[in-house]
Amino acid sequence: MVKLTVKQLFEMNKSRFVLSMVSNPNTFDKLITNQNINRPQLALSGYYHRFPYDRIQLLGETEIIYLNSLPDELMYNRLREIMMNNIPCFIVSKGLSVPNQMEFIANELNIAIMTSRLSTEKLFWQLTKFLREYFCQSVTMHSTFVEVHGVGILLTGKSGVGKSESALELIEKGHTLISDDVTLIKSNDETLIGMRSNLGDCIIEVRGVGFIDVAKMFGIQAVRKENKVDLQVELVHWQENKDFERLGLKDEKTAILGIKIPIISIPVSPGKNVSVIIEVIAMNQILKSYGIDASLSMQQRLAEEIQKNTELRNKK
């Protein structure tokens, strides 16, 4: 589980959200465990039932104006009631000034308050985006990740099956490499994003040759930082008796971080041109997304033909 302290949140977004600390710096040590944001409007008005205290509390102009309209004692009691819960932090938008009482209670109860110059809406969405990305699940896979005709293809298979060599052939044909051998995959709601696990150069290891700097050798257009993962292609050593899909009607799926993507196993044997097959898989995927499925239409045509033959037979 990734950890995020209020201090980290502040430091990482200081310039982007134009943040400044209001409460004492030692109130910024709390851990943020919930990736959602709450606007505590109802709680400020005295309704504390179901108050999601473990979320970051975002105060906009409405909240601040409302607070300032309350008599001093009432404001103190309401804020104290809210802040008695273990709130991670308050963020006030639009650079609005925080009521003195609020700052006082926050320092006393050890709760961070910061202000942002951004508008409430903008801050809400950008903060949500940041938190989603920060808390998203990730996994590293032993695989090479390429982008072919806009389709993100994760190449998997045992060591020595030819993942890197296939990637090299694809680069030669003008496609792009995202990562070789180790791919970091993050889930972003319904999609998977694959990237290099370290932010270094795009290096490929070719057996017998050693390391190759892809961007320097093939040009910057041959590499890319990240791409959506559309499907997985598993390279399997050709075995005499192993069954491989012949019709293409079975839609095999695999799940990465709980998200299902199609998986296709292709046999690899010396002299077989794997990169062409991978290009074909990519183009077939695009056609399928447009509703054109050769396997399906072959199946339908065959069924029609059999039906015709049956009718002819019955007439005889």
């Binding site: 005499e240 008796n241 012949r246 019709l247 065959l302 069924a303 059999i306 033959n309």
Partner: protein
């Protein structure tokens, strides 16, 4: 060389699924395998070929096997067709 005439017994005929089962089974043998239906003759290891037959229920197929494991191959293929590919 072995020859055998067999009648397609499953109601739907040799549609996509049986074709793929037939081709997969045939691919495991080293013998040559041809299928004849009326005037057509196709390679039994080729999915497109077998589909081209569009063999309906009740149609007659002549199976021709030729090679070192032809007997075994014939037994397997005949069993598969007679078992209606696990269909009706």
């Amino acid at each position: 060389m072995l020859k055998k005439v067999i009648i397609v017994q499953n109601k739907l005929g040799l549609h996509a699924r049986p074709c793929s089962l037939l081709v997969k089974a045939a691919g495991k043998f080293r013998s040559e395998f041809q299928i004849r239906k009326e005037k057509m003759e196709v390679n039994g290891k080729s999915i497109l070929g077998v589909m081209m037959l569009a063999a309906e229920y009740g149609s007659e197929l002549e199976l021709v096997f030729d090679g070192v494991d032809e007997e075994e191959a014939m037994e397997t293929i005949v069993n598969l067709i007679e078992s209606c590919f696990g269909e009706e």
